[in-house]
Symmetry: C2
Subunit: 305 residues, 2 copies
């Protein structure tokens, strides 16, 4: 399907997210053509084989000359390095948006650029993903019923903002707005902290003297709890580095609550433990009910261990 | 199906685990009849309505007079209180086994009882469960392809041990043996620590000033990570109290590894973060591969956030 309102999309960094944006935007008819650049030529070839993209280009200026909207979908630190080059060549482009999990660092990079360039940049973050990564994992429905947070600046061009909004709606995501600071603090709590805890748990058990038997006797609860520890190490390294302040605050807050629970265990304070567990269960049950009602996601398998 | 090798089973505490043992043992033909006692008469009535049990009795002595094998399936601390009464009436019973997630506390209770009583007791722990609980959640296949750890004492009667082993094999579980100390240390690492971390994370976020938006913007990764925080608060209070020493050691070991990761974040040490994340991912990926190959469990949905 191609219409008067369809656009040529450029993807910079063809992984799970960039590939899924391409598939979703083309399935909806919003994108008439998808052109991609990636530092890895094999990935681009794979994207063409899979039909995720129409065309691959060898450099960013070539990409910028042929598209209306650009989606920067590399890991965060690579994005910081690429953004100035992308915006420098964005004269013929109507919107540059990104998908990074941390918004402060790209905002800071954009702030150093000329107004007419940075005004085309709409920072964004789809709250969706997978522990699988790479273009082979891309899916047209990855963002459906998920939220995308846009964190525009005061001087972002209205047309650029409208295009970023429309792109994400075309993927069937729900678009919401937030300040950079709120985004980075909230994501530190809901996503970045849990990832660090999951990595820390697996790290702890991997170094235990009993490590072999520990992994042999772990079960479904452990599998689910640590699923996010199978995420891309480079992406999460970058997130930890670029959202450092908010993440440190989240880790420290968690550390205080864990210390309180530890004291209750040490003191044999069953009443305090039961109350904390009961409150946490109530909060988590309510969250899941709302999440599953909104997204239509099925409950997970229920094996604990 | 009823055979010469089928037994009358008594269930003490009719919840997810007791109910699932009943269903599995009867489905296989190992149990010819299932009789249950629970402190809650409504639960017993529900168990009869659901067809999980054949008969409910009003007290433990009545139960003990009518069965060959008894499965103690209450939360851990209730089990400690009931075990002496069960064993005191076990003269006509060939095996008393249990399902508690901590083995040290019941071992200590048994050690105070006369030899001829405690020799009939085979401590056991099926590494299977669910965040759902209660007899309504019981399933005949809960233990299939899962492990059950038995931790017999030196003077456990061979016949009692053989019956406990056979009961669990009838549920299609794989039976393995371990010392009480090893069991409690390994389960502290693989199960009790993750539960405490999940409860602590939800507790942390529930008390954050931004709690409403935090839960609104949490996604699939958070849901999976916190699934075990929806587990039964009383059961987990008891586990935390009865496996205190091993759990404190596991919490402290985790705390040291988390502190190391925190330092790497604070110092902006990307190389250290990436290495830790990479190693953790490798360990976790290997665990999942083996777990899924063994149990035939399907991979989970893969939405992260």
């Amino acid at each position: 399907m191609q219409s008067a309102d369809s656009f040529r999309i450029g993807i910079v960094g063809l992984g799970l997210i960039g590939g899924s944006v391409a598939l979703a935007a083309r399935r909806s008819g919003w994108a008439s053509r998808v052109i991609a650049w990636d530092q890895n030529a094999d990935v681009l070839a794979r994207g063409r084989t899979l039909g995720v993209i129409d065309e691959a280009v060898a450099d960013i200026p070539t990409l910028m000359a042929q598209v209306d909207v650009v989606v920067l979908a590399t890991p965060t630190r690579a994005g910081e390095q690429l953004l100035p080059d992308i915006l420098a060549h964005s004269g013929g482009v109507r919107c540059v948006t990104d998908v990074a999990s941390v918004k402060g660092s790209l905002r800071d990079v954009a702030a150093t650029l000329p107004h007419e360039q940075r005004a085309r940049f709409v920072p964004g973050h789809p709250i969706a993903g997978s522990e699988r990564h790479g273009v082979d994992a891309a899916r047209a429905d990855l963002f459906a019923a998920h939220r995308v947070i846009l964190t525009p600046a005061d001087d972002t061009e209205p047309e650029a903002l409208a295009l970023a909004h429309a792109l994400w709606e075309a993927t069937e995501a729900e678009v919401v707005y937030m300040s950079v600071e709120d985004h980075d603090a909230i994501l530190a709590a809901t996503s970045h902290l849990p990832h660090v805890l999951a990595y820390a748990l697996v790290d702890t058990l991997s170094h235990a003297p009993e490590r072999e038997r520990i992994f042999r006797f772990a079960a479904g609860g452990f599998r689910d709890f640590t699923r996010i520890a199978s995420s891309d190490p480079v992406m999460w390294r970058d997130i930890a580095l670029t959202n450092r302040e908010a993440l440190l605050e989240a880790i420290d807050s968690f550390g205080r609550h864990l210390a309180t629970l530890r004291e209750a265990v040490a003191a044999g304070d069953g009443a305090a433990l039961e109350q904390t567990f009961r409150d946490a269960k109530a909060s988590r049950d309510q969250f899941v009910q709302e999440f599953e009602a909104r997204t239509g996601k099925r409950p997970l398998s229920s094996d604990v261990g």
